[in-house]
């Protein structure tokens, strides 16, 4: 479904992604790990269409479409979802209004009628239960004054509402307490089908106990430098990144 080839991307003239390639097929879960500043969030931003990043080389296709040609909103409507590492607060825009607008824009893209108010609220209730999100949060402005963990839970709630084909979870586990981590991971697993796929960016092997990846990639200095199975995550947890950095440097 997703084919990234030799992707290079800059921010403010500084190259962050330096030739990254990755293929994701339906039904797969890919974990991406890597040291701080390696470019993990940059990859997520580029895939979701953040204009702050400039793609200088390479290609990304999503179900055969040139993803880089699409606006951020069309990428979302095509089925890409990014759970932000740092979700944004939007004072004055209610969660309900925000979600209803988003869901109906997705429906419009698929030539479907907008949801009736009752249908929308029913679906919203179901999805809230999935991530055990407090009713009070859903009645507030988007992320405004939410705790770190609440924001992350809200991301997964939105993911449940939009039912993406490819979800990119950028450190969704950070800031979650142990119970919340289990709830959120369960939510992600319940949404999993053989048709959709996830890219899970994390620093901690713990999350991968819940969301079991098919592949673990190490992103270092703007490239994927190593790929393995879920045991690679355990190895990283154990040994850190130095040995990988050394491997990379020796290869040059």
């Amino acid at each position: 479904m997703l084919e990234i080839k030799d992707l290079h991307a800059n921010i403010n003239g500084k190259e962050i992604l330096k030739g990254l390639s990755l293929t994701v097929r339906p039904g797969e879960i890919h974990a991406i790990m890597g040291p701080n500043g390696a470019g993990k969030s940059t990859l997520a931003s580029v895939l979701s269409g953040n204009q702050a990043f400039e793609v200088t080389h390479g290609s990304v296709s999503f179900y055969g479409k040139d993803l880089l040609e699409l606006s951020p909103e069309d990428r979302s409507r095509e089925g890409i979802f990014l759970s932000f590492q740092y979700p944004i607060e939007i004072p004055g825009v209610s969660m309900v209004n925000f979600m209803r607008t988003a869901v109906n824009e997705h429906r419009k893209y698929k030539n479907l009628e907008p949801l009736s108010a009752t249908d929308f609220l029913r679906i919203m209730r179901q999805k809230k239960e999935l991530v055990e999100m407090d009713n009070k949060l859903a009645n507030r402005s988007v992320n405004e004054g939410f705790s770190g963990g609440e924001k992350k839970r809200n991301e997964i709630f939105q993911m449940a509402m939009l039912d993406p084909r490819l979800s990119i979870l950028d450190e969704t586990d950070s800031g979650l307490d142990i119970d919340a981590l289990r709830i959120v991971a369960n939510g992600v697993n319940k949404l999993k089908t053989s048709e959709n796929a996830s890219i899970v960016i994390t620093h901690y092997q713990r999350l991968l106990d819940y969301i079991v990846p098919d592949f673990v990639h190490v992103l270092y200095d703007g490239r994927i430098v190593k790929t393995g199975g879920k045991e690679l995550a355990l190895e990283l947890e154990d040994k850190g990144y130095d040995w990988i950095k050394k491997e990379v440097e020796e290869a040059i």
Binding site: E73, I88, I90, G92, T101, E105
Partner: protein, 460 residues
């Protein structure tokens, strides 16, 4: 309609000279078609105008209201009070669902005779009507208040109004009477030629009274209009007054409004002035707190684009201790529009325990839109809590991207953000039906679907 217009004798002369000449030649007709109470101050007001002239940008308080272009237009005046051939009660049917207001009209500068059955059932003692007429029927009542706030103002527009205004809207709510429904005053500008209207409104709430007034300003015809209105409001002890103003006028309009409010002890005032669409607007709003334990909330909002200009010049004067005032103004400016806000806060020496907060936030949607914001704090008491804050910025790009990443189009995301930005001003509308309606209108305006005046947006 033509015979109703008194052309200025010195047509073509720019500025005040032609009006000074007009007054000199026609002051007897002006007086003849007005009332003693208004005439009492007329010559003095004229003398003051002769001295001050129209305000220019050289004056500190009018730095951002440039009337030069507007004053080059040769406006007609209806000094001889020829009735305007329009029956607003037939032309306008209010469709604010559930507002059920007492409905009144001022057509140009004249109170339109009431002929709506809904208005026959006012609570006992309440008087609402033409200032001119009421001043004949209840001269003592009107005399006691008329001009008390306006005649001390050293302001060219107020002086001009004093010289030329012949009528206006009058509302009197006696002691402890609570108006069960909002009162709606629709100012309609209607003329086949460029036209000017001066009116003077007088609103009196006695002790413990309660009233809500919604003023809608709008234009009917596609000519140049200049309206210069003065409104005096007296709010008695423990009285509660809400003043909403909704401006939806076309771009050829110059709308000058002076709102003077005097609060007595323990009274509560909310004023919320919303400019949805306009040409050039100047609101001078002054609220004087002349008793202890007053509550004041002054809000406003401007949505501007094209060449629109709005200057809200506000003053809140704390003369007595233990009063709270809050001020909140928001502007969304696009294209070449210009906004200005002045927030003068005066706390007298013995107005201890004053709490006063002022906020002005602005969003510029284009590089050519301009905003001037000026807090002006003069605090002479030492035990007070006062704060002010002003920001001028753009839409939050991060928030916009976040919404887009959820499939919301850029256009819709911008709209949601602008709408969110203005929402706290709209939240300060305490008439639910009106709040709903204004939410809808603001959204429509922000979508660009209300790009010209479509008659009274409230009433049509």
């Amino acid at each position: 309609m033509d015979e109703s217009i008194s052309k200025k004798p010195t047509s073509g002369v720019v500025g005040e000279a032609s009006y000074i000449e007009l007054y000199k030649q026609h002051h007897e007709s002006i007086k003849m078609h007005s009332t003693e109470v208004m005439n009492n101050i007329r010559d003095d007001a004229f003398a003051q105008f002769e001295h001050l002239g129209f305000p220019t940008v050289a004056l500190e308080n009018y730095k951002y209201t440039d009337l030069k272009t507007a004053l080059t237009i040769d406006y007609g005046l209806n000094i001889n009070r020829i009735p305007i051939p329009v029956n607003p009660y037939e032309v306008f049917t209010c469709d604010v669902p559930g507002i059920h207001s007492y409905l009144y009209f001022v057509v140009n500068d004249a109170f339109y005779p009431v002929n709506d059955a809904r208005n026959n059932v006012l609570p006992e003692g309440v008087i609402i009507g033409s200032l001119n007429k009421v001043a004949e029927q209840h001269p003592e009542l009107v005399k006691q208040y008329f001009g008390n706030l306006s005649s001390t103002k050293n302001d060219g527009l107020v002086a001009f109004n004093g010289a030329f205004a012949q009528d206006g809207f009058f509302m009197y709510i006696p002691k402890n009477v609570i108006l069960d429904k909002p009162v709606q005053l629709v100012n309609i500008m209607r003329s086949d030629v460029d036209f000017m209207a001066n009116s003077h409104n007088l609103i009196i709430l006695e002790e413990g009274a309660k009233a809500q007034l919604l003023v809608c300003d709008h234009t009917v015809d596609d000519v140049h209009f200049l309206s210069n209105r003065v409104t005096e409001v007296f709010v008695g002890e423990n009285a509660i007054y809400e003043h909403y103003k909704l401006e939806n006028m076309h771009v050829k309009t110059t709308n000058l409004a002076t709102l003077l409010i005097n609060q007595k002890a323990s009274s509560n005032v909310l004023a919320n002035v919303i400019t949805l669409h306009n040409g050039l607007t100047r609101n001078t709003i002054e609220i004087d707190l002349n008793g202890e334990n007053c509550e004041t909330l002054l809000c406003g909002m401007v949505i501007g684009d094209k060449n629109q200009q709005v200057d809200n010049f506000t003053s809140i004067i704390h003369n007595k201790p233990n009063c709270n005032s809050r001020e909140l103004f928001k502007y969304v400016l696009d294209d070449m529009s210009k906004g200005a806000f002045t927030g003068k806060l005066y706390v007298a020496k013995d107005a201890q325990k004053t709490a006063a907060f002022q906020t002005n936030k602005n969003i510029l949607l284009s590089k050519t839109a301009k905003m001037r914001t000026k807090p002006q704090l003069e605090i002479y008491a030492d035990d007070v809590k006062c704060s002010h804050g002003a920001t001028i910025g753009q839409l939050d790009e991060k928030a916009k991207f976040y919404m887009q990443s959820r499939g919301i189009s850029e256009k819709e995301a911008r709209l949601l953000l602008m709408y969110a930005f203005t929402s706290d001003v709209i939240d300060n509308i305490r008439i639910e039906a009106l709040q709903d309606r204004i939410k809808m209108l603001v959204e429509k305006r922000l979508r660009g679907e209300l790009s010209k005046c479509e008659g009274c947006v409230i009433c049509q």
